[in-house]
Point group: none
Chain length 208, copies 4
């Protein structure tokens, strides 16, 4: 009985991982159920047994994806750092997380292409919301009080901006590389981008 349960868990995890890769690579429309089963090394019928249909499977992948990044964000402990360091750390974390999880970007693109309807039904919508928003609000408040940050900064706007600077560069990496004729993921290009983004965010935040 226990054995069976463990098998079941393992199978579900294998399916989720395979589905995540397939959806990330081809989008929701381009993903193939057959390929997911093959990637997972399991019978196709099992996908339906555990996840009902392709759409629900996509939703499960999305939820897991959000859960993962939120867990990581929670480990940042920005509240323990001086304001400027905290912001810098957030910029770096965002950049590195996107770099190491390229599937996150394409999954979000797919979710948005479908107008986020896969999140609508998500019961754990709470889980989706970033715990960072509140933390960031505190950091900004602290910075303002200490006189290092400008005031009137909306933490949501800032959070979105920090994400956007990394996201666009990495998500559109292929078209940008084609247009500019240079490899945006070369080591030097990477560190220049990170440094630029930090400059932009801190240049904006730091009080004159």
């Amino acid at each position: 009985m226990e054995e069976r349960q463990r098998d079941a868990d393992r199978s579900q995890a294998a399916i989720l991982a395979a589905a995540r890769d397939e959806f990330a690579e081809h989008g929701l429309g381009g993903a193939r159920v057959d390929r997911i089963a093959e990637r997972a090394g399991l019978n196709k019928r099992l996908l339906y047994y555990y996840f009902d249909d392709k759409e629900k499977l996509f939703q499960a992948v999305l939820e897991q994806t959000y859960r993962d990044i939120r867990d990581r964000e929670r480990e940042l402990h920005l509240e323990d750092l001086p304001p400027a360091d905290a912001v810098k750390r957030l910029v770096e974390f965002t950049w590195n997380y996107y770099l190491e999880h390229p599937e996150f970007l394409t999954l979000l693109n797919s979710a948005n292409l479908h107008r986020a309807r896969h999140l609508q039904g998500s019961k754990r919508a709470r889980e989706l919301n970033s715990p960072l928003i509140e933390t960031l609000a505190h950091v900004l408040e602290r910075g303002r009080k200490e006189g290092v940050f400008r005031g009137g900064v909306d933490p949501v706007q800032l959070y979105v901006s920090i994400a956007g600077l990394s996201y666009f560069y990495l998500s559109n990496n292929h078209t940008l590389s084609a247009i500019f004729g240079r490899d945006l993921l070369a080591p030097k290009a990477r560190s220049e981008r990170l440094s630029h983004m930090t400059d932009v965010i801190l240049g904006y935040l730091l009080a004159p």
Copy 2:
């Protein structure tokens, strides 16, 4: 003769417009050739007559899309404005263009999902490159000389950042709205976003 030619052009244009909308709405994988023909009000066979297959049609759409935004960028005449105004205008233009052309965002996402292979073969790759990069370089240089801008700013990085700030907000609008539980496209939210982005970019650029 003229008539016929004009009809051919009109048909091709109708197909391109229909395809652009369909690809934008459903992505490359989710787009349906039948629907494109229906949208265009033309026989499906004609799509193949003019564009060979779905992939080439997508490529044609992409090229036209780039051509359009590049044409608009060319009309900005940033070189005639004071540096800070020029940058502000660019931020506003980018924001408004994306707002008015939501298809641009999803098309680029699709192109990137497919690793920009549809641009690889594009003979007119030159056309893809933004004419703004050089203009922006001049603006930055002027600003630095006038003592209003900081030095050492890479125009490509800045261009990408300006784009990213708008792009992420609008492209991921649905997931973000779901997460934050607020409508990011409400009039007030829009003006707040534009104002925030301008603050970020100019806050970064303006010399202390």
Copy 3:
């Protein structure tokens, strides 16, 4: 398990038989996958499930066709007969096999129209080679030693000639009938042809 396996085998066999008939009747280019499925009484999708595509299905049919005639040739036991009888038997067998398997002729024509590329990839090319060539060589050798056959006869040439005499008559039966204005498959015409062919081959082989 057994049941299922047997069903799979039965389905594949039904598809192969239906495909053989359809290809024989219409050629590779004229054959219709829909019709094959209908003839087999199975879902069209299954053809692709088992044989990938139309080309591979044609290849499978060809291989099976060759296997069948080779099996029959093996049952002839020409080595047990006096040389002249052995050759006579081969002429008769060839004639009758072609008569009873008209699909063999058109399938070979199709294969040749496509430059036999469907045999190129066939791993079991060995199976295609007739076991008769060696047997025929022995028969010719025996006949020569016994003084009844002329010497210097290449068994491959002879084999091809025996086949050609029947093949051309039957494969081109329709045009020949149209040209000569007589039914080449009427009973009398058949026996006359067989008798003529035997005369030709033995008239050539028998030592003067």
Copy 4:
């Protein structure tokens, strides 16, 4: 006016030649009207203008093909040669004509696949019949009278046999080459085949 007529004739001839090649290469089912037009360097509409449809075009090609070989046969003048030489010449002619007109073989195969229905309607059916049959009858008669040929030989059977020996070898050249693992069209193989065929036919005919 005259000019026009000449253009029209030239166009029709170009279409026929292109169609002959296309049909020979791909069979009736595999031939493409577009490709025929392209090969002919003419507008597709013109094929329909002159030949009504694909089927009628195929019929026209067939008729022309028969006309051509019949014309050549008429030039043989077998009646002027000693009987054995006449037969030898016919074997050689058949072999060489097939070698030089590989399209003849595949066109006949296509015609037969379609049960020669394209000849049925042919008004000039008379043209199809070989003038050689009668000539060959005379040659056989002469040979018998001179005591060099055996008696009781049906000229039609002999004609078909002579054709079959060459036809099968050349028409099935690809499968035979694959099966026997040797190139049947290599120069040495060619001359051996011709010599073998002559031996077979004369070995059969020559009185003991």
